[in-house]
Amino acid sequence: MSTLQPPGSVPPLPDAYSTPYLVCLVKNVHWVYVFWELTEELLDKGHQELDHDPATRKVLRVWKGEAPQRSLVCDLPLEADLGGQYVYLPDPGCRYQMEIVLVGTQRSVSLLTSNFIITPFGQVCEDEDGEWASIDELYRQYQAVEGKYLSSPQLWQLSSPMRRPPQPLDKIDLIVETELVIYGKATPGAAVYVQGEAVSTNPDGSFTLRYALPEGCSIFPIKAISKDGSQKQTLVPLVIKETY
């Protein structure tokens, strides 16, 4: 895995940090993610210790346990001086450490060691506490799912405001709505009523109303009454909506 920059990153991130490191992060019961950076200085020092052996190769060494009682799990070939990869660890619930080693013909030199990690156990433990022996009846509901993940796989999708909305279906769909806009103007200061209800007007006497238009015939008596109440006028638009 050689991608060091995120897609379309803004602003730019350092390609490298010019300092050596090897870090191991646990992903789940069997997998970890390891990332590293080897500097020229560190590599030169290693090669020097191996007398610049031309057959030298770099490996990512996987250790189980802690020295002096650790055991070698595997050596994985390492090409890049700067990179990361996922590593499979066979035994859950164990302590592991990674090491980058320069392996020569006669001997090896350790370049970097990582932090220790402990992989999750992944199942109910068989070890019982002498004074707090478990109660089997309380475990019945979990027996059916033993070996599977007990945290609900659906739950996480609701645990954030950023969940994905439903995706549009791949078919033709047609939705048509109709609205009616009534707009007009009365003498500034006059009161305007639509279907008997007062509507607000702008300072110049204009008004705009927007209605969802139902099927059938809709009648809109619009009445304006002057400020002193002496003058009145009514206009009645009639609208018919039919859908075929």
Binding site: K27, Y33, F35, S134, P153, S160, M162, Q195
Partner: protein, 537 residues
Amino acid sequence: MKQAKGILAIVLHAHLPFVRHPEREKTLEELWLFEAITETYLPLLSMFDRLVREQVPFKLTMSLTPTLGSMLQDPLLVERYIKHLDSLIELSEKELVRTRFQPEFYPLAQMYYELFQNSRKLFVEQYDCNLVKAFAAFQEQGVLEIIASGATHGYLPLMDQEQAVEAQISVGVNWYIKQFGREPKGMWLPECGYAPGIDRYLHKYGIQYVILDTHGVLHSKPKPRYAVFAPILTESGVAFFGRDIESSKQVWSSTEGYPGDYNYREFYRDIGFDLDYDYVRPYLYSDHRGHTGVKYYKITGQTDHKEPYCPNAAREKAAEHAGNFMFNREKQVEYLCQHMDREPIIVAPYDAELFGHWWFEGPQWLEFLIRKIAFDQETIKLGTPGEYLKRYPVNQVAQPSMSSWGYNGYNEVWLHDSNYWIYRHLSQMAKTMIELANFETNDDLIYRALNQAVRELLLAQSSDWAFIMNAGTMTEYAVKRTCEHIHQFWQLEKQIRSGSVDLDYLSALEAKNNIFPDLDYRIYRQGAAAKSLAHII
């Protein structure tokens, strides 16, 4: 009155990432906050008010993360929220006119008009624009146990530097002490993310308990006597409670859970998507169609055709579901206490935003549940993990398993092909910050730059960004935020080491990323007694 046989501990985790954007007038991200206030936090507070006034006994646990709490108290965001409400009131007034001839929608338009008017009144007049203080008041009254959380909701199991873990915890605890005037009993681990060793820092900062996903406790070593129905203690002395599967599934499950009932309001049918674009445009937060909060349809079924929402039917359904939930908890407790030599505790944690925002009827369901538990039965009572520990201080010692409540139960949501690249940078930033923390300076600008560097690091560590990248929803935003904080950190680091800080640059960052104003960079010192700095923060 008979003694209850078991305890139901409902835990509401209220969190949003720090999404304050003073540089733009309207942002989609700030809308997350506004929606959560209107649809979740105000309805919850309102519900607490009613219950207290009517002397309905209840106890809930709630976490309020520092990022959310800081935004709730930010003057700019408060002002913007009020403007947001005013625009919703204007929209709902227009809707009242527009739907006059639609008897199936007009009552709903009225409902939203009243909701928005009421929200404004509650927020401004009743709670004085300070919801953190409002929640704190309920803690003082003994009905709410508020717990702390990580500073910026950083995902602790993927921090390879112990100092980074400690800083998230210490800043989170100190923020809590400043807000609530007391030490927190419990802490919400971000994403319930735990790895062995984290408990040492929890204990160091006085945390008595945390909550893990089911398998975090169930897979502990040795096997826990009471499964997840009583806590376990680590050797460091922190209690771990495990999430109950049954009560979680009934609410959380996208297929079987209550929120999917066909009578409930459909989240995705919003007038922001349905109506004429020019009409809704002034109320949207981007140039694209989006949510306004005005929704007129119910889920109806597994179909694109949606029926108009009926609040009364939905309310009845919420009552029915609350009754069903309570009935199931009663049966559960009756079974458990046949086999346990102490009261079982059923821990039911949920994201607070589920109630009201995602599940519109959620607060109603919760209120019905609380009332039914108080008056319609005697088998279970509401309680908190803190109270349970007080009642049962002696517990089994065991080592919990690494775990989270994310998909598949471990770290893979936050360590995935979409987001693995961030950890190289976060690791180096933390290492560098530990180094920089040893600086001593009398130069005010250097001091401010060091503090701002910590803020940038803390904000880069928010688990939300990696989550969003994995979810593939607003990936561009999450990537941009992460990159900005990383870049800004390194710019500050360069300036600090050179002894020449750009005042304009620093001031701009301080103004924008203004969380934890009293932060002191020395919290990153190894062995720093950060708790003693509480008087500073």
